[in-house]
């Protein structure tokens, strides 16, 4: 068993074994000192094994004198040895010295177990006669000098000595109680911290494991998407190729009916190809393999490019298309092709979901981008806001119900089955837009009122002014 284990077992049982561990030496020393100053009685505190823990005394002329004599020195150390090794197990013991003085040995208990003792003395009981014969029997002693020194010894009435020893014992036991309490408290604190730490480490390990698992699943999903779309795309491109060959008359002239059918096949195949490309984009975005080629993109050029692409379908449905770029809008730091994809998607949607005669507005304005990761990590708290560009797509369409708003950026989510069927699309568009915006370090928000219209706000970092 190591020391630590032993301690742990003691903590658990609330036991203490050693006086030296729980009695503060400093308090014991000052207690002895004031005891000595008050009563003039020498005192020492010993551990259960007899080690000295604290003491207060002054050499007495009698003792010093006896120690100059060989026989005196011998008898003195013998007496002291005896006094130190006495182990009183219930009450105090009075141990006599040949000099006529006595030592009073008092046991100390804690939780009813002996844990040490203290020795008061040497002193001469007032009741004792003058120097005893045993003092005179020391070899080559000068009895006159010895007598004179004897009368200098501290004296005490035995009943009073007993009382003050009992009192000192109580005070020492109180010190032991509080020392033990302090020891248990700090041991418990250490053990509790250790135990909490162990628990925390265990939980954190479990979390890391499940995090790894989730990452695996996520990766699997992305590779699956990529693989599937690649595998689908090649046969599909062949179908389109062959259809085009047939249409161009490579296999002979076609009847009107055959032409019609081929046109449908071609149309449907194109649709399918578009869907697969979107899936592939999503897969790439989720596996973070999408390469963005950053450059400074002029927002006016971006919006007018997008506008000219969608204007035919707007015109067809008599929808007014406005483009507004505020003065001082900086260039966007992003991938021109992906930015066009974002805006085209939003503009397409806006037109698709707006009634005949409605309005769609594409806009750009200067803005500030809140720093930090959009996923909410507060690392950005210590950096300044970045200059940004906000791109708007506003329509006067059917709008989106509030409870659906938070989900529209999820893959395969369509506000309702009906609109999907009526307007086509697999519900991938907005999730791709969101991923593309995220990849640019931007944000996308949507506000909408059913029946009044919808506003998409894309905020993207601005390019450096000198770029």
């Amino acid at each position: 068993m190591t020391q630590d284990d032993a301690n742990a077992a003691d903590i658990v049982m609330g036991d203490v074994v050693r006086l030296e561990d729980v009695l503060s030496r400093d308090s014991a020393a000052s207690l002895c000192k004031s005891f000595f100053a008050l009563f003039g009685l020498p005192v020492r505190v010993l551990s259960q094994e007899g080690d000295l823990l604290a003491e207060a005394h002054r050499d007495r002329p009698l003792c010093s004198y006896l120690n100059t004599l060989a026989d005196g020195r011998h008898r003195c150390s013998q007496t002291l040895g005896e006094a130190h090794s006495v182990q009183p197990d219930s009450g105090s013991i009075v141990h006599p010295c040949f000099s006529g003085a006595v030592y009073r040995i008092v046991p100390l208990f804690h939780q009813r177990r002996p844990i040490g003792r203290f020795i008061v003395g040497p002193y001469v009981p007032i009741e004792a006669p003058s120097a005893p014969e045993s003092l005179g029997s020391v070899e080559s002693i000068d009895t006159g000098a010895a007598r004179a020194h004897f009368s200098d010894m501290p004296r005490a009435r035995e009943d009073i000595a007993e009382q003050i020893c009992a009192h000192l014992g109580e005070v020492l036991e109180i010190l032991v109680f509080f020392g033990h309490r302090a020891q248990l408290a700090s041991a418990m604190q250490l053990a509790s911290v250790r135990e909490s730490y162990r628990e925390l480490a265990e939980k954190s390990e479990a979390l890391t494991e499940s995090h790894e698992e989730l990452k695996q699943v996520d990766k699997l999903k992305s590779t699956f998407l990529a693989t599937v779309s690649h595998e689908l795309r090649s046969p599909l491109t062949s179908i389109i190729g062959y259809t085009e060959m047939l249409q161009s008359g490579a296999a002979g002239a076609l009847s009107e009916e055959q032409s019609e059918i081929l046109k449908t096949v071609h149309g449907k195949a194109d649709e399918l190809l578009g869907l697969i490309s979107s899936l592939l984009d999503l897969g790439q975005l989720e596996s973070r393999t999408l390469d963005l080629r950053h450059e400074a993109v002029d927002p006016r050029a971006l919006l007018s490019g997008v506008g000219s692409t969608v204007v035919p379908s707007a015109n067809r449905r008599n929808i007014a298309l406005d483009i507004r770029v505020s003065a001082g809008t900086p260039k966007i730091w992003g991938d021109a092709i992906r930015l066009r994809q974002i805006m085209l998607n939003l503009a397409d949607n806006a037109i698709k979901f707006t009634h005949e005669g409605g309005q769609v507005e594409l806009g750009a304005a200067p803005a500030q981008l809140e720093p930090g990761d959009p996923s909410g990590v507060g690392s950005g708290l210590f950096t300044a806001n970045r200059p940004a560009v906000v791109l708007l797509v506003r329509d006067t369409g059917m709008g989106i119900a509030e409870d659906k708003l938070s989900r529209i950026f999820e893959a395969f989510y369509q506000v309702d089955g009906g609109t999907t069927r009526a307007h086509g699309g697999a519900g991938l568009g907005l999730s791709i837009v969101k991923q593309l915006v995220d990849a640019h370090g931007g944000t996308i928000e949507v506000t909408s009122k059913p029946g009044e219209g919808t506003l998409f706000t894309v905020t993207l970092p601005a390019a450096n002014p000198d770029a």
Binding site: M13, G14, Q111, E195
Partner: protein, 224 residues
């Protein structure tokens, strides 16, 4: 349990467990007040300024049971506040018996339950089968309003694995009965597992009598 044959001493650890503020410390205080001072040592509390137990309370009791044998009981209370779970597990270590102190108020039912489930989990965590742990349950604070009725407790008691005691710890009612019940259950298990009588010569019923007479004071339960 710790058996020191040289010193002829048997030490048992009894733990007062339960939700925050259910009256664990109050139980130990009452025992300290009611038990004979010859048997009872000093009550050690490791608490915050507001009296909430921080690490534990400990009340040492020592009783001579005859033939020079001495039984030492170490009564511990755990800190009930949720955040001290690790400390509770430590204090539970090496427990020989447990008194679960519940708050009788209806509003506290789910807190009691939660604490009880955690107790079981902590025991298992310490490698102890809760079903084999001597345990008694005390419904404390019988003096308050809106408590579970005596009839309800009877029904619970009839279904329960553990004997049930009622108490008003602050007045000392039912506290000694709970303790005696706990000691009896603990001793029974000890005798079955360790054969103290055959092996060491400690007579169970004589020891129980010695303990009960030394702890003294068994005011019967009185309705408040």
């Amino acid at each position: 349990m710790r058996l020191d044959l040289a010193a002829k001493e048997l030490t048992l650890k009894l733990v007062y467990y339960g939700p925050a503020l259910s009256g664990k410390t109050s139980n130990l205080r009452a025992i300290h007040r009611l038990a004979s001072s010859e048997a009872c040592g000093q009550l050690m509390t490791l608490a915050m300024k507001n009296e909430r137990t921080l690490f534990f309370d400990m009340l040492p009791i020592a009783i001579a049971v005859g033939d020079g044998f001495r039984v030492r009981l170490k009564l511990f209370s755990v800190p009930g506040q949720l955040m001290h779970e690790a400390t509770r597990r430590l204090v539970l270590q090496a427990a020989d018996g447990i008194a679960f102190i519940a708050d009788s108020r209806r509003s506290e039912a789910s807190t009691n339950r939660e604490s009880f489930l955690r107790l079981h989990r902590n025991l298992r965590h310490n490698g102890v089968d809760p079903a084999r742990m001597p345990m008694v349950v005390q419904f404390n604070k019988r003096d308050l309003e809106d408590i579970r009725s005596d009839e309800e407790l009877e029904t619970i008691g009839a279904r329960s694995h553990e004997p049930i005691y009622k108490a008003v710890a602050t007045r000392g009612h039912g506290v000694m009965q709970t303790l005696h019940g706990l000691i009896r259950k603990t001793w029974l298990k000890l005798e079955t597992d360790q054969h103290l009588e055959d092996r060491v010569g400690i007579n169970a019923s004589r020891s129980m009598r010695a303990i009960e007479s030394m702890l003294g004071n068994r005011p019967e339960w009185q309705a408040p």
